[in-house]
């Protein structure tokens, strides 16, 4: 996969659209090159409230094709809400979300389902279906859309599980019989089974020990590279963010307050980012909490 080079570090003014992961256009761009210069996901002015609580306050974000963008932010900063809005699991109050240039918010349900069929999602707790064996979990989307038979499903699941370091016998087990790390790998297998164009990862390393976290991150990077997908991950695990991301964006107070490559994170010049990545108790975020 040809990864697009990371952008130059940038401090960000509030409300300014982010164009992350974009490479300078070549002099005579090929068809593929032109495709890579258009954002895969383009979010503008995304707003979402729950009652009086404003969670997303005009998010602007561009995610370029075949890049991995990691959104970081504290607990309750709206990372999961952002992801759920893009996935169509929550209806935003305002703004636009374009995928491949098409605004998905006014789409009918069937059209949205069509768009979703090109998206893979790894949930924070795996969200594996308890009542189904692992192989059926992995190929659930393909079976539900009648794209493969059950026999092909078993074979396909064994193949994908093998790529993630799980033996074929795991396919016959139920999720409750798996360890946390295995559940994450099965959930990752389910997310990549349909070879999606776009992949979302919600806190991929939560609840795992540091070694297993690194293993999962490695698998995520491998899968995204192999499939040539565009990835968006949300996490507050900075080690994970650095491993996965070509671009890191920080969400705070319902807005993206900084974005840039992982190498620029240490010199962001943004006090909130600085406090967050160093995990300091004292700083602007803490001061706001005290208020």
């Amino acid at each position: 996969m040809n990864r697009v080079g990371p952008p130059s570090p940038q401090g960000l003014t509030r409300g300014a659209p982010l164009s992350v992961g974009a490479a300078p256009p070549p002099p005579t761009p090929s068809r593929e090159g032109r495709g890579l210069s258009i954002p895969k996901i383009r979010i503008r002015g995304l707003r979402k409230s729950f009652g009086d609580k404003l969670v997303l306050d005009g998010i602007d974000l561009d995610v370029m094709p075949q890049t991995s963008t990691v959104v970081i932010g504290g607990s309750g900063s709206g990372k999961s809400v952002l992801l759920k809005c893009v996935l169509g699991l929550l209806e935003p109050d305002g703004g636009t979300i374009e995928i491949d240039g098409r605004d998905i918010l006014p789409m009918r349900r069937t059209e949205r389902e069509q768009v979703r069929s090109h998206i893979g999602m790894l949930f924070q707790n795996g969200a594996l279906f308890d009542s189904l064996p692992v192989w059926e979990n992995v190929t659930f989307g393909l079976l539900a859309q009648h794209r493969i038979t059950r026999r092909e499903g078993r074979e396909r699941a064994a193949e994908i599980l093998g790529q993630l370091g799980l033996g074929p016998s795991v396919g016959e087990l139920y999720p409750s019989e798996l360890s946390g790390g295995m559940q994450k790998r099965v959930a990752l297998a389910r997310a990549i089974a349909a070879q999606p164009d776009i992949m979302f990862f919600d806190e991929p390393t939560t609840g795992l020990d540091p070694i297993m976290g690194a293993v999962i991150d490695g698998l995520i990077v491998d899968c995204v590279k192999r499939l040539g997908s565009t990835a968006v991950a949300i996490t507050h695990d900075m080690a994970s963010a650095r491993r996965i991301g070509d671009v890191i964006a920080m969400l705070h107070h319902g807005r993206i307050i900084w974005s840039g490559p992982p190498t620029a994170l240490m010199e962001s010049g943004n006090p909130e980012v600085d406090q967050f990545i160093h995990g300091r108790r004292e700083g602007p975020i803490q001061m706001e909490l005290r208020r």
């Binding site: 699991l89 998206i119 707790n125 969200a127 308890d130 009542s131 659930f140 389910r190």
Partner: protein, 261 residues
């Protein structure tokens, strides 16, 4: 004056809340039924729900029906003996069972078993993001989780009621024959001579409605559950209580429709 206004406001809020819940339940039901009529239909989920609801509920429904038939025969006999009307025991047992006790008791038993299990299963799926996962896998949760269960409810409960009717009559017959001294032929001919098609049909229609209500409330409460284990527990309780009350209420409404002169 303020106390009166506060009381009125409380009543008003309660009424609005009840209307909101009723409206939301009706919309949920309409959505579930509409997914029954549009492809794809998940036959595997339907069969699983049908086996759960019909086959695994059979023991509890059978035992309930047998003992109800036995008690009914005994009580009717002792009551009717006061008027020298003991010969009507068979008629009363068969009519009570087919029209009322078969569908209502089977409904209540299944509501306790399946309504709770459905609410707990779907509620757990809700709080562990499994329903969101279904959506992201381009599978409509209403179509996958709700529609097959609604159809299973409509089919399973009438099937259970047929069994309950037969076993209930058998229970009555056992007591009448072994304890009360009724002859085999006299009791059975009295049972079948008096029984009309409408008695059985009305019971089966009631059962289909009750089966639909049990599945609907289990799915609805589970689907709306929030807040982890406590939310799932509340949803389970609410599903059983609401289904039981609606079964009794609809029993009256359907009886009015079928038999009111």
């Amino acid at each position: 004056m303020n106390a009166v206004l506060d009381s009125l406001a409380l009543v008003g809020r309660g009424a609005i809340g009840a209307c909101r819940i009723a409206g939301s339940l009706v919309l949920f039901a309409v959505s579930g039924v509409s997914h029954l009529l549009r492809p794809p239909f998940y036959w595997r989920m339907f069969l699983r729900a049908l086996i759960d609801m019909a086959y695994f509920s059979l023991p509890v429904v059978a035992l309930t029906a047998i003992f109800t038939g036995m008690v009914l025969a005994l009580q009717t006999y002792t009551g009717f003996a006061r008027f020298n009307a003991q010969s009507a025991v068979a008629n009363v047992v068969v009519i009570s069972l087919t029209r009322e006790l078969g569908p209502v008791l089977a409904g209540l038993m299944v509501a306790g078993r399946i309504g709770a299990a459905t609410a707990a299963e779907i509620g757990t799926m809700r709080v562990t993001d499994q329903i969101d996962a279904l959506t992201t896998l381009s599978t409509n949760p209403m179509k996958y989780l709700v529609a097959p269960r609604l159809l299973a409810g409509i089919i399973a409960l009438p099937a259970l009621v047929v069994v309950a009717d037969i076993l209930g009559v058998m229970g009555g017959f056992i007591v009448a024959n072994l304890k009360l001294g009724f002859g085999v032929e006299a009791y059975l001919s009295s049972t079948f001579d008096f029984l009309q098609t409408m008695d059985v049909v009305s019971g089966l229609v009631k059962a289909a409605v009750f089966g639909f209500l049990i599945a609907l409330l289990g799915c609805y409460q589970g689907y709306r559950s929030r807040g982890g284990a406590e939310g799932v527990g509340s949803a389970t309780t609410a599903a059983v209580v609401a289904a039981s009350i609606l079964i009794l209420a609809f029993d009256y409404v359907l009886t009015e429709l079928f038999f009111a002169r």
